[in-house]
């Protein structure tokens, strides 16, 4: 140990990096990955898939960020914001990939800030207002379970960039799912009040499950995870009542437009600004 200062010690081995406060030893997950679209991969379909996954992540990140200064505990606030930032990172890479392959050359900001609600392809579950902590936990459990199952398959995608993004995301999503599952068990198997709120949250989330499962075939896997967690939490599996419509074809609730207005406001008021 060369120094009593804890962060100097932790950063040891990265002496060349004097900006340790920004973190050290980072790796670029896309370093060395060939960005050419492989033969046999439909560029339009690939771009659409990237945008869909990015929209889920961006909208979820915004809802998670809303917990900042409002979470029940300081530690949970940081945890939820961290998860949101992981998803934001995934969204950035996915938008960039979409812009590379769809022929428009758009950058990530063009997708995030300069599209209207009808152009977004996220599931409606992601855009619902945060509300109760239990609701956020149930939603996070569902979305992270689905996304993890889907990303695990995408690690074998023929597009090497999407496969690399998925490989990075799998580790993040495994933590998100674990975080949500631990809270789900804690609250479901907690007090009468926490159990009641979890039941209510399940009922609010259940109608939106069908929308997730229509797009990609990971349903059995996700349902098995949810069943395992709900059983451990002493909760019933919610009754499955799908709502008509789908965010995947641009049909959204009234909650998406205000969310995007807040997200996009500064960028639209000051286009081309840098900070």
């Amino acid at each position: 140990m060369s120094d009593d200062h804890v962060y100097m010690t932790l950063a040891e081995g990265h002496e060349d990096d004097t900006r340790w406060a920004y973190g050290t030893g980072f790796e670029d997950p896309l370093h060395g990955v060939d960005t050419a679209v492989p033969d046999g991969v439909d560029a339009g379909e690939l771009a659409a898939l990237c945008v869909t996954l990015a929209d889920d992540a961006l909208v979820s990140a915004q809802r998670l960020a809303e917990w900042t200064t409002r979470a029940p505990e300081l530690e949970e606030e940081v945890a939820l914001a961290n998860i949101g930032l992981d998803l934001l990172g995934q969204a950035r890479m996915l938008y960039s990939r979409a812009g590379q392959v769809d022929g428009t050359g758009r950058d990530e900001d063009a997708y995030a800030y300069f599209r209207d609600p009808g152009d977004f392809r996220n599931v409606r579950l992601a855009e619902l207002p945060g509300g109760d902590f239990a609701f956020s936990i149930v939603r996070l459990l569902v979305l992270s379970s689905w996304r993890l199952a889907h990303f695990e398959r995408l690690t074998a995608h023929r597009d090497p960039v999407l496969a690399a993004i998925a490989a990075k995301g799998v580790k993040e999503l495994a933590y998100h799912r674990q975080y949500a599952a631990e809270w789900a068990v804690r609250l479901g198997d907690g007090t009468e009040e926490s159990h009641r709120r979890m039941r209510k949250a399940q009922e609010q989330v259940a109608p939106y499950l069908g929308e997730l499962f229509t797009a990609y075939d990971v349903r059995d896997e996700v349902v098995a995870v949810l069943r395992q967690v709900t059983e451990a939490a002493g909760l019933p599996m919610p009754v499955y009542r799908p709502l008509p419509g789908s965010g995947r074809i641009g049909e959204h609730t009234e909650h998406l437009a205000p969310l995007l207005a807040e997200l996009q406001g500064v960028a639209r008021a000051h286009p081309e600004a840098t900070w």
Binding site: M1, L10, E12, G13, T24, F26, L74, E75, N82, E182
Partner: protein, 97 residues
């Protein structure tokens, strides 16, 4: 909902860095139990890529010397220079001393 809220107990957090040889105290946090303390520590103290291992321990389980004990505890060693191995030449290839 009642506003009565039990405070979560305090935990002390120790993180071992990538090249670090031992866990270093980095701070404290509140958590309901050991498992939650670990996940909180992960989120609060390793998110800038600092750590490869985390220890957490309930603060109340740490026994600490007090200020009053400082002189009898530490003063007697101040003048005993012969306890330091400063009279030896340490070869360059011996690390961690």
């Amino acid at each position: 909902m009642t506003t009565e809220k039990q405070n979560w107990p305090l935990y002390e957090v120790f993180v071992r860095g990538k090249r670090g040889l031992n866990h270093v105290h980095v701070g404290s946090l509140h958590a309901a139990d050991d498992r939650m303390a670990l996940t909180h520590a992960r989120d609060l103290y390793t998110r800038r890529n600092e750590g490869v291992s985390i220890w957490v321990v309930r603060s109340e389980h740490i026994a600490a010397s007090t200020r009053d004990e400082r002189d009898p505890f530490f003063e007697p060693s101040a003048d005993k220079v012969y306890r330091h191995p400063t009279f030896y030449d340490i070869p360059d290839d011996v690390p961690h001393i």
